[in-house]
Amino acid sequence: MAADPIHQFRIVELFPIAHIGNTEIAFTNSAMFMFAAVIIITAFLIIGTAKKSLVPSRLQSAAELSYEFVATTVRSTAGHEGMKFFPFVFTLFMFVLTLNFIGLVPYTFTVTSHIIVTAALAIMVFLTVLLYGLYRHGFHFFNLFVPKGVPIAILPLIVFIEVLSFVSRPISHSVRLFANMLAGHITLQVFAGFIILMGTAMGAIGWIGGILPFGMIVILMALETLVAFLQAYVFAILTCIYLNDAIHPGH
């Protein structure tokens, strides 16, 4: 059971809240870690800026760094007008980043390894882009699908491809994060399982041999830390790029 690589992704119901029809709404381990992330992020920023010193402390530096980092990303990809979405992108980035990092701690649960969570976030971004684009530019928003300077003969094909790529955005957006987190954690679990397997099967020699997969876990852990950050960043920057389409449609 301990070696089961998907055991870690199990949703554990902590206590039920309500029943809507046949569907049960329960407070789960997933929800617990989501709120843990909310508390960690808020505490990080609020405690970091408790003094608001001119020369920042380490924590304040880190808080300001996260702020500047996301602000620079938004400004460089979506322009100055994109800054109105800064709180949204910042929330997304910090939420995903914190959930990814929490997932790296042993015995925790990785919220972002569930497709329903990443899909919900991606669809939220998609709808934000679509609704803001329509609100801001009206029907002109659909110019996004009609690149300029394309010969009329192949225009229908191009428009079809553009629409298809636009609609498939939430899929790639969500699956990228989900698959990365899932695969990384399964790999870690599989290598950890090797140690147990060798130890129980071959005794002392097996435990010594277990150093090899353990070393692998150490290396993978470093890689997963990078992936945890990178996927959060990719999620945020893709959000910025999609928002840029809503703010400046037309190529």
Binding site: T28, A31, I41, P87, I115, L121
Partner: protein, 181 residues
């Protein structure tokens, strides 16, 4: 933890979409979505209303302080530049002033010297002419004395030679004739 999972799985008999792979167990979706929505909205509100303005203001304050300091430094530099310019102007003025005073003094002294020289010269000229006059008068008187002496001597010589006093007119004419030569 394993126990908890065990009870969970017994509590949830195979409902719709209850597969073996947790991320695809659709009976967990509703719970996850509800809590995701609550957590995300909560975080969004906390960030946009509370945390981000705080961080932003801290950064802005620092930027403002830096800008103020730079502006202050610029102002001080302007002041020091003005002071340097004023100092240099004062220096140039003083130099010009000194030059003017020196020129004036030199001119005045030259003029005074010239005037003194002139008065001295005049005085000397006056003395000279007086002296010349005295010399002329002395010479005149000396000359007239010479004539009288010469006439007397002539009369005496002639009286001794011929024993008889010569005619006065002849003597005077003879002396004048001799003096002319």
């Amino acid at each position: 933890m394993a126990e908890q999972q065990h009870t969970t799985s017994t509590e949830h008999p195979a409902e719709g979409g209850h597969g073996g792979f947790p991320p695809f167990q659709s009976n967990t979706y509703a719970s996850q979505l509800v809590w995701l929505a609550i957590a995300f909205v909560l975080l969004f509100v906390l960030m946009s209303k509370w945390a981000l303005p705080r961080v932003g203001s801290a950064i802005e304050n620092r930027q403002k302080r830096i800008d103020d300091d730079i502006a202050e430094a610029g102002k001080l530099k302007e002041q020091s530049d003005a002071a340097v310019a004023a100092y240099e102007k004062a220096l140039a003025d003083a130099r010009a002033n000194a030059q003017a005073i020196a020129n004036e003094t030199r001119d005045k002294q030259a003029a005074e010297a010239e005037a003194r020289r002139k008065t001295l010269e005049d005085e000397l000229n006056v003395k000279l002419t007086e002296a010349e006059k005295t010399i002329a008068a002395t010479k005149q008187s000396a000359m007239s004395n010479v004539r009288g002496i010469a006439e007397d001597a002539t009369r005496a010589i002639v009286e001794r030679l011929i024993g008889k006093a010569p005619n006065d007119q002849a003597v005077t004419a003879a002396v004048a004739d001799a003096l002319k030569r």
